[in-house]
């Protein structure tokens, strides 16, 4: 019996575990076949602890599993979960009989003990409890089989599962009836095909046609209908073909052998066919399972943020399980953040806040199909991260029963795990990003402090020096020297003040997004204010402007715009000799206002003018010109805040040229034209 090919998704995990288990003893607990699995599980746990063994709860699903009622299946899934919560590995195996499958698995895991219930049925062909145990022992040489009796008075309460509704019972009954009718129809068809051949071919070939029919019935119908086909085949063969024809009498006793052989062959074929079909279905289900997992994993890998991840997962789970699904996000303290609910499909599950809170707090599943809040219509699965519950997946089956089969439970859990992993990844990425930002901010702060302390100390030493000279009584200073020193003090103090303004402004601009105080302003007004700010210092320079009065009003923060222009003028004063011409002009180009400040000075003096806009970057490093290199950084911040851009190039006038492009909205309509109001 090839068991390895029949493992569930757990096979991989089991194989991994088997490697690690070489050193440690392994103990298997067979569940699902006795009525007191809980007792078995607890016995297994105690025994495993006593002998320091790893242990696994094994559920073997034979072909009979198809006929297991849904509530029984749900109970077995729950048993596996309980075992898992007690430290066992939960394994689901598929096989022909329980005994052969568990024996093969025990060999694979090199298990030393198998715990079974003393009332366990090990396979449908086995005739007695004792015979089964013997069979299992024979199949598992060297493995200790321990039969556990139910604990007296142990009232095992399986997780309640909603019963089928009457309409579903009727539907199930109808399907069974259809299958049995089909079984009879197969015989009829065989007869219709075979009857015209009667007399032309040997009876042995007629038998073949019926055998073929039995095979088809085995492939398409269940075990019962197949058996029915086997019987009706014999009856039809007897009635229509075996002399005397049209009578059930049999004259030749040889035909009794034929009948027996036909029955046995038909039953065997049917059984084989059913087994083949089940394996095909199981393989199909596994493939579906794998494909679904692959799809969700792939889409989660693409998803960039938490919202996209949750949306992806909810969509996949909803589609695969035909379920209404939503995700509740939890904050770091495990409280549910209602605002982050993501819903897919037309309807969302009804969320019971109490259940959700319980799941968030305990980190365990609850709701339908579990022991906690089993009456809830939906299942709640915690999405576990490394630091507690990240969120809760709420799934409500779209069909009326709401029951989830074990394969679907597994699939759902696997998908939930994938989502949790993805969310955890997103959270870690967020943390890493925050850490990186913090590091960058720290570097910036250090650079800023270093630059500022240098640029504040330099003018301060000049001020202190000049002040001490003026204060010295015996330095009989003439009026000219006194005025020079006074002006020096004033200029240096003003430099410091400008520096402080720039630093504060930059900090404010970078602190948030909501810093613009927009209003409608005319550009000529802004240019005028910027020039007025430097009126006295610009006296030595030749300033000209070309700002047309008919430019549209701009919705800008005038303070910041003035500051930007003022910084550019400041640079012109600092980096060009007196007498240089400074020209400020503005033009309108489709939707954009271009403001240009250029001069006839020595130019930018750098190869990559873009760098000038970086913080703490200065055109001439080794110079006696004061400043920290914040002016242009502010210019760029201001222009970007207004949705524009600033560029530095060489001016056709010979010097530096700064061009600011600011988009402008529709020209605000002036409600009264100058002539319309009396």
């Amino acid at each position: 019996m090839d068991v390895t090919s029949q493992y569930d998704i757990a096979a991989g995990a089991a194989a991994n575990a088997s490697e690690g288990a070489a050193a440690r003893d392994c103990l298997l607990v067979l569940i699902g076949a006795s009525g007191y699995d809980i007792d078995l599980i607890h016995a297994g746990k105690r025994l495993a602890e006593a002998v320091h063994a790893v242990w696994a709860a094994v559920d073997v699903q034979t072909s009979r599993f198809r006929f297991t009622p849904d509530r029984d299946r749900a109970r077995r899934v729950e048993i596996l979960r309980i075992a898992e919560s007690l430290g066992a590995e939960a394994v689901t195996l598929h096989g022909t009989t329980v005994a052969t499958t568990i024996a093969a698995y025990a060999r694979l895991r090199q298990a030393s003990k198998i715990l079974v219930g003393s009332r366990t049925r090990l396979g449908w062909l086995a005739v007695s409890q004792y015979a089964q145990l013997v069979a299992l022992k024979r199949l598992s040489p060297g493995i200790e089989i321990i039969a556990i009796a139910p604990q007296s008075g142990s009232a095992h309460a399986p997780a309640p599962v909603p019963r089928k509704t009457p309409s579903q019972r009727v539907e199930y009954f109808r399907q069974r009836v259809r299958h049995y009718l089909s079984a009879v129809a197969v015989t009829a068809i065989c007869t219709v095909i075979a009857f015209p051949l009667s007399g032309h071919v040997d009876l042995i070939n007629i038998v073949m046609i019926y055998t073929l029919g039995a095979a088809v019935a085995g492939l398409l119908l269940g075990r019962g209908p197949s058996a029915l086909t086997a019987v009706t085949n014999i009856l039809a063969f007897d009635y229509f073909f075996v002399p005397p024809i049209f009578s059930l009498e049999v004259l030749d006793p040889n035909y009794l052998v034929t009948f027996t052989a036909m029955l046995v062959v038909a039953l065997i074929i049917a059984n084989l066919m059913i087994a083949v079909r089940e394996r095909t279905e199981a393989a199909g289900a596994r493939e579906h399972h794998t494909a679904a997992l692959y799809a969700i994993t792939r889409d989660l890998a693409i998803a960039r943020d938490v919202n996209a991840m949750v949306t992806t997962a909810v969509r996949h789970i909803g589609e695969v399980l035909q379920a209404y699904t939503l995700v509740l996000m939890c904050d770091e303290d495990g409280r549910i953040i209602a605002s982050q609910i993501v819903v897919a499909r037309d309807r969302r599950p009804v969320v019971d806040a109490n259940v959700a809170r319980w799941v968030a707090a305990k980190g365990r599943r609850a709701g339908m199909g579990t022991r906690q809040f089993p009456a809830a219509p939906a299942t709640y699965l915690p999405l576990q991260g490394s630091h507690g519950t990240i969120g809760i997946l709420v799934v409500e089956r779209a069909d009326a029963t709401g029951i989830m089969l074990s394969e679907q439970q597994r699939l759902l859990e696997a998908m939930a795990d994938q989502l949790a992993l993805a969310l955890e990844r997103a959270r870690l990425a967020e943390l890493a990003h925050a850490a990186q930002l913090a590091a960058e901010r720290a570097i910036l702060r250090n650079t800023l402090l270093a630059s500022i302390s240098h640029d504040l100390r330099t003018p301060l030493s000049a001020i202190a020096g000049a002040g001490s000279i003026v204060a010295q009584n015996d330095f009989s200073l003439d009026i000219y020297r006194r005025v020079t020193l006074g002006r020096l003090i004033e200029d240096k103090a003003r430099d410091m003040s400008d520096l402080l303004t720039n630093v504060l402004e930059l900090v404010r601009l970078e602190s948030g997004t909501d810093v613009l105080n927009r209003d409608w302003h005319s550009l000529s007004d802004i240019v005028g204010l910027a020039i007025a700010r430097h009126e006295s210092r610009l006296a030595g320079w030749e300033v000209s402007t070309d700002v047309p009065g008919d430019l549209p009003l701009l919705s800008v923060d005038s303070n910041l715009m003035v500051q930007m222009l003022s910084n550019l003028l400041e640079n012109a004063i600092k980096y060009t000799p007196p007498g240089t011409r400074i020209h400020i002009s503005a033009q309108q180009f489709e939707g954009v206002i271009r403001l240009v400040v250029e001069d006839t000075g020595p130019g930018l003096g750098v190869d990559a003018p873009e760098q000038l806009f970086e913080k703490f970057t200065r055109g001439r490093l080794e110079s006696d010109i004061g400043g920290v290199g914040l002016g242009l950084a502010i210019c760029r911040a201001v222009s970007r805040l207004h949705g524009g851009e600033i560029r530095a190039t060489a001016s056709p006038m010979g010097g530096a040229r700064f061009e600011i492009a600011v988009p402008h909205d529709e020209d605000p309509s002036v409600l009264e034209s100058p002539s319309s109001v009396a």
């Binding site: 005025v483 006074g486 002006r487 004033e490 103090a493 003003r494 003040s497 303004t501 105080n517 209003d519 409608w520 302003h521 005319s522 000529s524 007004d525 240019v527 005028g528 204010l529 020039i531 007025a532 009126e535 006295s536 006296a539 402007t545 700002v547 009065g549 009003l553 005038s558 303070n559 003035v562 605000p668 002036v670 409600l671 009264e672 100058p674 002539s675 109001v677 009396a678």
Partner: protein, 244 residues
Amino acid sequence: MIVGMHVALVVEDDRAVQKVLRMMFEANGFRVVIADSCARGERDARSQRPDVSIVDLGLPDFDGIELIRSIRTWSPMPIIVLSARTAEAQRLAAFEAGADDYVLKPFSAPELLARARAALRRHVRGEEPSGILEFSDLSIDLSRRVVQQRGGGEVRLTPLEHRILETLARHRDRVVTHSQLMKEVWGPNRADTRSLRVFITTLRKKLERNPTRPTHIVTEPGVGYRLVVDSQRDDVGIDMHSSD
């Protein structure tokens, strides 16, 4: 211009600034009274009858704006704010409380002195505009609504432009806030400053030599406009350098 023995009240809590202001005013023929809180400022304003007040906003007991409001309830004397607060909203609040002018710290002494003297002159001359305003090469006859260039040519103003100019002239040399200007020109219930900005631009084009660098219709950023008729600044004491 000879000012005589004017009294300047300085409400400022920083010792160094007090000293600088005292020196500046005394060197230019003022008598100086110094108060370091709103309460003392209020008391000294009533007892010493100053001709001009310099008020800092960040005072230990109350905000300087409170003091301005309180003084305005009983005295029209010129009040100049001297503050490090740069935000437009705070400047606007000071002007709306009744301040005549706003000088930013760090300040230039000659400029502050010039502004104090200009405020004094306005106060002495009174608020009522004479019928005819003359500045640079323009003469504006407010009652006849005629603006003439010195050469003899007439500058044509639309009725709204004229109303704006008239409002600014009535408060000449003082800041007229946007809302005040809107209310007086368009009436109440106007909140949009866009048309005001357009009219100011057209007015400047007609009245200023260089509309981009206006010398008469001056913008007080974030607050409003000021019509500067008397732009002399050369009457600063000889031992201070003037801003040239």
